[in-house]
């Protein structure tokens, strides 16, 4: 199967939207890869600071592996439902179906953020604040940055849902949703890095 740009391709029957996607999605990938470098370097920083707890609380006291497991499942499931929303758009299965899958993804993303926020607050309660040690500075630079990305992706999804309500599923909505899908799946990839390096690496 030949594809025109990285990611899910709409196919020729989408006409102008498929043509526009070729340049726009590739450009978005360039941005996404620069974001990957940023996350990768923050992970390298975290690895360098692992153990630099300076007498403050360490991973064993601060991390809640059960909550991380639930967060991981929530994020992975939201990636699946995001994919289903994009497939519904690609195969023109109706606006209702696209909206339902998008709302499910949004709900899963929101549940992830709520759990993460709960973890952050309980860490602060235990004295795990950014200024406590090099280890914690590195943690707070990396993990909340991913959360911020997820929150921004959620806001973007709300904007696209608004556009869909206003304009219908037009070319702008289609290419927008394709780019949001790339971001959504990419944030999953970053989360794999985070749970492996930050949580498994910290607790092992």
């Amino acid at each position: 199967m030949n594809t025109r740009h990285p990611g899910l391709n709409l196919g020729a029957h989408h006409g102008a939207a498929d043509d526009a996607a070729e340049v726009e999605i590739f450009g978005f990938w360039v941005f996404m890869m620069s974001d990957a470098v940023l996350f990768g370097l923050l992970m390298a920083t975290y690895v360098s600071f692992l153990g630099a707890t300076h007498g403050g609380p360490g991973p064993q006291t601060l991390f809640d592996l059960r909550s991380i497991t639930v967060q991981t499942v929530l994020l992975l499931t939201s990636s699946l439902t995001m994919g289903l929303a994009q497939l519904a758009m690609k195969h023109e299965e109706g606006t209702r179906r696209i909206v339902v899958w998008l709302l499910v993804s949004l709900g899963l993303g929101g549940a992830f953020l709520a759990l993460e926020m709960h973890d952050f607050l309980s860490m602060i309660d235990k004295g795990g604040v950014p200024q406590a040690s090099g280890f914690l500075s590195a943690y707070w630079a990396l993990v909340p940055l991913h959360g911020l990305h997820v929150a921004s992706a959620g806001l973007w999804m709300l904007a696209i849902l608004g556009q869909m309500a206003w304009y219908g599923v037009d070319d702008g909505v289609k290419t927008g949703l394709l780019r949001l899908g790339v971001l959504w799946h990419f944030l999953d990839v970053v989360w794999i890095g985070i749970f492996t390096i930050v949580f498994v690496g910290g607790l092992a």
Binding site: G7, A36, A44, E93
Partner: protein, 98 residues
């Protein structure tokens, strides 16, 4: 490709992702493996899972797409390996000498 086939591809990706994630978290919780082994298992599972996400969710393949896309991703991986790996190497070396 038909809708059914494409939907199945997403489901396969999702199941593989769970299979590569949950056992690693379980092993970490149980503490059954020594630290070094666990880190190796987790690292290999993570790399495979990233490949799964790229293949099933982001539709990146080695063949059948324009070459610039693959170059972009491979170049980013190279930059990450140099800068990330270099950071960890140099900082660990410095820490060992302190």
């Amino acid at each position: 490709m038909s809708v059914k086939k494409e939907r199945r591809s997403y489901l396969i990706g999702y199941v593989l992702a769970l299979i590569l994630t949950l056992p690693v978290l379980g092993l970490t919780a149980s503490g059954a493996l020594p630290r070094g082994t666990l880190l190796w298992v987790a690292g290999v599972a993570a790399v495979v899972q990233i490949a799964v996400h790229f293949r099933f969710f982001l539709h990146i393949r080695l063949k059948g797409q324009t070459r610039e896309d693959l170059h972009l991703i491979l170049f980013t991986t190279l930059i990450l390996a140099l800068m990330g790996g270099g950071t960890i190497w140099i900082m660990a070396d410095l820490a060992a000498r302190m």
